[in-house]
């Protein structure tokens, strides 16, 4: 079991091993467990995908720890960052969903869950949940919706968003392929479910090549009006 000292540095990546002089070590309540999450919203569907590797420092704790959690029949949340906070946060969200269902006699909509998560995260503004959340689901009109968050609750609705350790690599690729950014003379075709699915698989294969914390397997949740379908795709295990 790893003792979470400052060896891991402030952003979770390993610090260099050379002697710089006496260093004061302090217990950090946070740890970085890696993982990448991605969500794409289409005309009548939403896809939330995550890798299943759980790592810490130089070790892999598990190859089968997906980061997508089903909240309702129309909403899935992807959480990456510190696994302890991911687990607690999803438990709290589940409890709040149940409370809402019992008081209001209906399930929470995706937009309502997003607004509620923002206040839950901000409630811990001075000792934040170290979790990068992305909610994917259908809005009240049946259109795909993606909501992306920062660790303290700032959020907005997007068409696509990547979060987690490989987010900086994936987001520019999605900007180009889904947002048609920085391309001239291309037709802006709406994204079909098949094309979106293939894009998500390709993009994660690339991420697994270049990011050490991403790999092992890919878990994809496809949200449509008929429910939530899950798919598993193997990735590089090295």
């Amino acid at each position: 079991i790893m003792f979470a000292t400052q060896v891991h540095g402030d952003n979770g990546k390993m610090k260099e091993y050379h002697y710089t002089g006496p260093v004061e070590h302090r217990f950090s309540p946070y740890s970085f467990n890696g993982g990448t999450v991605l969500a794409v919203a289409g005309e009548d569907f939403a896809i939330v995908a995550s890798d299943t590797r759980l790592s810490e420092g130089y070790s892999i704790h598990s190859r089968d720890s997906p980061k997508c959690y089903k909240l309702t029949d129309t909403t899935v949340i992807g959480c990456s960052g510190f696994h302890g906070d991911c687990l607690t946060l999803t438990k709290i969200i589940d409890a709040r969903l149940k409370m809402y269902k019992h008081s209001n006699n209906k399930s929470m909509t995706s937009g309502a869950i997003a607004a509620m998560l923002s206040t839950i995260l901000y409630g811990r503004r001075f000792f934040p949940y170290y979790v990068y959340n992305i909610i994917g689901g259908l809005d009240e009109e049946g259109r795909g919706a993606v909501y992306s968050f920062d660790p303290v609750g700032s959020y907005q609705r997007d068409t696509y968003k990547a979060g987690g350790s490989a987010s900086a690599m994936l987001q520019p690729l999605l900007d180009n392929q889904i947002g048609f950014k920085n391309m001239e003379g291309v037709q802006h075709l709406p994204l079909s479910q098949e094309k979106a699915l293939q894009l998500v698989k390709d993009v994660f294969i690339s991420a697994a090549e270049r990011d050490v914390y991403t790999g092992d397997a890919l878990r994809i949740c496809i949200v449509t009006k008929d429910g939530i379908k899950e798919e598993n795709v193997p990735l590089r295990k090295d």
């Binding site: 402030d10 952003n11 979770g12 302090r26 217990f27 950090s28 309540p29 946070y30 970085f32 510190f82 923002s118 206040t119 995260l121 901000y122 409630g123 503004r125 001075f126 000792f127 934040p128 170290y130 992306s148 920062d150 660790p151 303290v152 609750g153 700032s154 959020y155 907005q156 900086a168």
Partner: protein, 252 residues
Amino acid sequence: GSESPIQFGQINPNIASNFINTLHQDLVLSFPPGFPPSCSPSVPLPFTMSHGTTTLAFIFQGGVIAAADTRSSCNGLVACPASQKILPVHSHLVGTTSGTSADCALWKRILARELRLYQLRHGRRLSTAGAAKLLAHMLHPFKGTELCVAATLCGWDGGERPSLYYVCSDGTRLQGELFSVGSGSPYAYSVLDGGVRWGLTVEEATSLARQAVYRATHRDAYSGNCVDVYHITSKGWARRDREDAEFKSQHP
């Protein structure tokens, strides 16, 4: 004593409750217990918050113009190229935000809630000056913490008076006719100081505001992407089309 020897940002509910009582008697703001924390040494955070922006607002004969860029950056990475930095609070009040995105978004939301409650309790809308004072007093318990909010409230009060206030989380509250806030503000000020007059037409004022933000995005690394412009008149706020600053640089 009763304190745990291991301090890593835990909040003590008993000590923090006296902050709530110092606020105005009419207002009972409901914070979660133990918020704000009174004696927490800060936990070293493993991530950075979003900062860096250019926002501006000025008064002229046609009302108030508020403009902002749309880049939300996080320690060198553009976390969001299409964020909303101008948030409507109610039909006649708009706030520009600068600082940490989460702080600005949540505190604007709390301000909107309190203004609505004021309207329901007193039968009239609170003036911009009152809203500015309310926001400043709500942020005061957090002075000295890492909360970072620098907002300008642009509104139209009851009669024919456009109104502009700058409120900051360190306690500043200023009334003025021209403000620019954020890392790109020096560049915006230089453009605005050369062009703002009372007698501008609405079109001239809008284009001046866009120019100022565009110039700031050109020079400031943390500002960029698109420019949002809002215009507040006696009839309320109206949003102009979001224009891409890059597009403008290639097609002047």
